[in-house]
Amino acid sequence: MTRAATALAGASMPRSRLAPWLLLAPAIGVLAIFTGYPLVQSVPLSMKQTFGPGATTWVGLENFAAALGDPIFHKAVINTVLFMIGSVCTQIPAALGLALLLNHPSIRGRAVLRLLFFSPQLVGLVFVAVLTRIAFEKSTGIVNTGLHAVLPMWSLEFPWLEKHVLATLVLASFWMWTGFHMVFFLAALQNVPKELHEAASIDGAGPVRRFWVVTMPAILPIASFVTMLSVLGSLQLFELPYVVFAGGGPENRGLTIVTYLYQTGFESGDLGYSSAIGWLLAIMLLFCSIIMLLAGRARHA
């Protein structure tokens, strides 16, 4: 900024002291009333047992103790973590691979392909869930009939929705999210300066070496951002399994933390226990974020 511009910026104090607050009021008011207040309330609520929104009894930390000893909650945590690992480990490398392919200079129709891979993202999770439920059915679903048509030894009776529930969920979210992550990688790749690649080529670096030395460091911030988004998002999975199985699925094989939170709060009517689960999830999310931030910092050092 030039000196004149700085002086002007300094001079641009509004005449009215009220004006900024009036402009902020709708957003900050709503944020305080509908996020801030419930957030504060979630602490006492997690220490109560409730029967619907009206009737409550104080139980202290019992909800937390109960959740930590609750085998169904354990099942939900294990399922959710496995789903997260499965999703992140398939989607992120695939998204990066797709972005690298699309970014190849001789690829024609890049815009069309980018749009095509992105399009499943426009379909909401509920709608994906409804399709998943029909597509993965035994003997009639398109997944089994399609696989059987390509690989004749594939059994039409492969029990996706009965036994391989997490694999089903990982596949459905793979279809939905890979293109979304790809868009971020592609944007990052297009911001890598061409001169760096040219300089590395002149120094005799081949394509693989250039990827590790030039491309990776340049896209690392976006890669960590996308990974973080994916980890935190998959730990909060709800709609997909909830709609596919109308609940937790056979033997709760598709039960996730948020599905259990929903079931305890709105099907059993104990908003207190539901809040306690919410806090345990929040702690998990915070823990994962801190680990990833620290890992990012360690890599920088």
Binding site: S12, A19, L23, A27
Partner: protein, 287 residues
Amino acid sequence: MNPNARPFSIWTVAAYALLLPLAVLTLIPFVWLACAALKAPEDFFSSMFLPTGEGFLGIAWSKLTLVNFRTVLFDAGMARAMVNSMLIASLTSILATLASAMAGYTLACHKFRGKRAVEIIVLGGLLVPAPLIIAPGYQWLYTLGLLDTWTGLILPAIAPAFGILLFRQASLRSIPPEVLEAARIDGAGEGAMFFTVALPMLRPMIGAFMMITFLATWNNFITPQIVLQSDDKFPLSVLIAQLADVYRQDYGVIMAGTLFSIFPVMILFLALQREFISGLTMGAVKG
């Protein structure tokens, strides 16, 4: 990426050989959905896509039917839900964009006491995971008497912390302080300045953010599922989940309902995709 690559090298062929099958796999669910919605119940399982027969391209065109669409629109209440989704998503996205733009612009272009505190509150809002406030939020809406109302559904959604921060970034980048100062010297009021000076300069962000919010609201399931109770207020997302149970065996109807729910928005977004995708990645790549 590699400036020395010759076009149509072996790598190009390999890249296409990978990309095209993947593109086909990505599209298959859409094609399957569109075909399934056009099939009568007795033909549903007879073929993977369209029923085979004597017609053009080996397809029995005469077996295709629009009956599923009629059932879904008139018997299953989809027409109503479609209007509801339109209204809910439009209202939410317009109000959220306006409130976020006003707040973001103020944080970027005004100096006032307490600004830092407001910024910290907004950043804090970004960190609150949505599931944490599901139960207390429901109890709070119950206390306020806003359960089963659109107000209870829309109002809490009009101040997303990330929207405020996006507009703060956009204002810092695209509204020069000199322009605001000039408007002030001309005697413009602060409110008028937001609408006449700031909003036009934030146009690209407004378009992108409105689209992102519209789509997210259209596809949101958990909030309407918890807040709303009467059938006549449901958006498509909640109705389709119910249809999947009510018409459990009638796959064609479920498929027609899904097609009907996703295709209108998809076409809208594919038409405006440049703005949408760039808005999505704007904060992440340049911020």
